[in-house]
């Protein structure tokens, strides 16, 4: 308990200044992304516990018109680097978790997704607990239909990250494959 408290305090100190400002700036974000950063809205991703680098880079791609997500356009337009970094720092401090409406596990679909995750080397970048790191997002417990949407966009060439790793990672997968992967990842905690 003491150790856990100490860790919380330490990380709080490291991020306090930026994250506190980010918490205020993020108020408009919460309507869609969830009051605790866990989205309860279909097609909208959870941002709680996402690596700060990931949020920062995606916000800049949205600001620069390089990532097409029309709902985000008015929020990203004109945001300064500092605002984006502070918002990202705040979301990174929130404890991640599944949406309240996560559906029960489908054992066969989960197994199918798990079977694909090895050959596709998902954990190489997203880390073995699928919590992400740096520019690579947390995908564990993300909204299932959002994961499917994002992977479909990568596969179909409608989205690219700062590099093209994800386009390659899902290349050639069928809709059924992506659905299985999305279910598997959404069920992880």
């Amino acid at each position: 308990m003491a150790a856990a408290l100490l860790a919380a305090v330490t990380s709080g100190v490291a991020l306090a200044q930026d994250a506190r400002r980010g918490a205020e700036l993020a108020t408009p974000c919460l309507q869609c992304h969830g009051t605790n950063g866990r989205s309860q809205t279909p097609e909208i991703p959870s941002l709680a516990g996402q690596p700060a680098d990931f949020i920062t880079i995606q916000m800049i791609l949205l600001r620069e018109g390089l990532r097409n997500a029309p709902a985000m356009t008015p929020f990203a337009a004109g945001k300064s680097d500092q605002d984006i970094q502070d918002i990202a720092a705040w979301f990174a401090t929130l404890p991640p978790g599944p949406p309240d409406d996560r559906r029960p596990r489908d054992a066969a679909l989960f197994a199918a997704g798990q079977a694909l995750s090895g050959p596709r080397h998902c954990a190489t970048c997203h880390v073995s607990d699928y919590g992400g790191r740096n520019q690579i997002p947390r995908v564990a417990a993300q909204r299932e239909e959002y994961l499917l949407h994002a992977m479909t966009q990568y596969r179909d060439g409608l989205r690219a990250g700062p590099d093209t790793q994800m386009n390659g990672a899902v290349m050639g997968l069928s809709n059924a494959d992506l659905a299985a992967l999305a279910h598997y990842l959404a069920q992880l905690d």
Partner: protein, 407 residues
């Protein structure tokens, strides 16, 4: 689960069938980038930094140079800065990848610089060529020409779209692999560029991918300058012999120390450097296809494993000591697909009178922290200014360093 390491197209799909009996559909073949990738590896590309780095965080004090050379920050606050092309009036245009911008950097009378965003919202506009007063931008899938640019830095004219004329392979045909461009103007007035391979490693169409190509500036008369070149994102012509030289990236996921990145000297049009079968005397363990490596052109030099060799220039100035004249400065952006970091520096390839590389000298170092396995910046381009000083772009920190020499 060794079977997963050897999924190679249809044959492997059949072998792997029983393991995927529960899958909702037959397993798709593993894409080329995953071939040879070991289970459990955690190596991933480094995060790009797309935000402005404050000047006090630009790592100028980390830079180490040979005796007599000094480094200063020439310009900063330029996220993602990579390739540099210079206009006739001295404007420096700088391309980027992830942030989609082309910057225009001018010098103020007091020696400081001013940076404008010249173009934005482009897909990886890394390739830049200046011909007369026209700037050519090679983005992924787009070739644009902006005329009379230096007179219109604040309000760039609408570009002429040359995409169809150049007819480079599309983003979709590349499958997201190695489709970003480097471009250079040849002494013959042609534009030289790369067509990278459409995978990490694969059996590819060797007339379409893994090439160095040249065009007339209007996009006509495509000529294959070299084939079997996996991906070159740096090239220049020798100032005396006019031969084309290029840097070339080796494939990933086949060991920490193999294959090496390389420096290529193209002695005759169309020669073949062996990808995917060979690189120098190194035979690819998965894609050699029984080919003898001796049948291919050999690289002029090996430049280290996974070092990510990018921009290169022959030093044509007079500020540096005579021993550097017409020698090749090469930016090594630095590794990700390697357990320990390599590169993150600038090296010099020294040539003898016949143009053979006699040695590779470390020139700009100090950005790679071996003890802590961290890096302070990633050199992506070198450019010789008219006064003989040299610019080095630092992509990670969005800064351009200027190297000068004082006796």
């Amino acid at each position: 689960m060794t079977i997963r390491r050897h999924l190679l197209g249809m044959a492997a799909m059949l072998m792997a069938g029983p393991a995927f009996a529960q899958a909702p559909a037959p397993a798709a073949p593993v894409p080329g980038w995953a071939v040879g990738r070991p289970e459990g590896s955690t190596l991933a590309p480094h995060a790009a930094r797309l935000t402005v780095t404050p000047l006090d965080q630009v790592p100028i004090s980390s830079i180490r140079l040979p005796q007599g050379f000094q480094a200063e920050v020439f310009a900063h606050g330029i996220p993602g800065v990579r390739a540099i092309a210079e206009g006739p009036n001295g404007t420096l245009f700088a391309g980027t990848r992830a942030i989609g911008r082309v910057y225009a950097i001018t010098r103020n009378p007091d020696g400081s610089t001013r940076t404008r965003i010249f173009a934005q919202g482009l897909a990886q506009p890394n390739g830049l060529v200046m011909i007369g007063n026209s700037l050519y931008i090679f983005a992924v899938n787009r070739v644009l020409r902006y005329d009379n640019v230096e007179a219109n830095l604040d309000s760039p004219p609408a570009p002429v779209d040359l995409t169809a004329a150049f007819a480079l392979p599309t983003e979709q045909e590349h499958g997201g692999n190695h489709h970003w461009k480097y471009a250079a103007l040849g002494p013959d007035g042609r534009i030289y560029t790369n067509v990278g391979v459409n995978c990490n490693v694969c059996d590819t169409d060797r007339d379409k991918f893994a090439l160095l190509v040249s065009f007339r500036p209007d996009g006509s008369d495509r000529r294959i300058e070299a084939r079997g070149v996996r991906n070159s994102v740096g090239m220049a012509h020798h100032p005396v012999t006019r031969e084309l030289w290029a840097t070339n990236h080796g494939r990933d996921w086949v060991g920490n120390d193999t294959p090496e990145d390389s420096l290529l000297r193209v002695r005759r049009v169309g020669e073949d450097f062996g990808f995917p079968y060979c690189l120098g005397t190194w035979a690819d363990p998965q894609y050699n296809r029984g080919r003898a490596c001796g049948e291919f052109s050999q690289p002029a030099a090996l430049l280290g494993p996974h070092t990510a060799v990018l921009g290169m220039r022959f030093y044509t100035g007079t500020m540096f000591p005579e021993q550097y004249r017409n020698q090749i400065f090469i930016a090594r952006r630095g590794s990700w697909n390697r357990t320990r970091l390599s590169g993150f520096d600038v090296v010099v390839a020294h040539l003898d009178a016949q143009g053979n590389v006699t040695r590779i000298e470390e020139f700009l170092t100090g950005l790679r922290d071996d003890a802590n396995q961290r890096f302070a910046d990633r050199p992506a381009e070198v450019h010789v200014l008219r006064d003989g000083s040299m610019l080095v772009s630092g992509e990670q920190m969005g800064a351009i360093y200027r190297i000068t020499y004082r006796r």
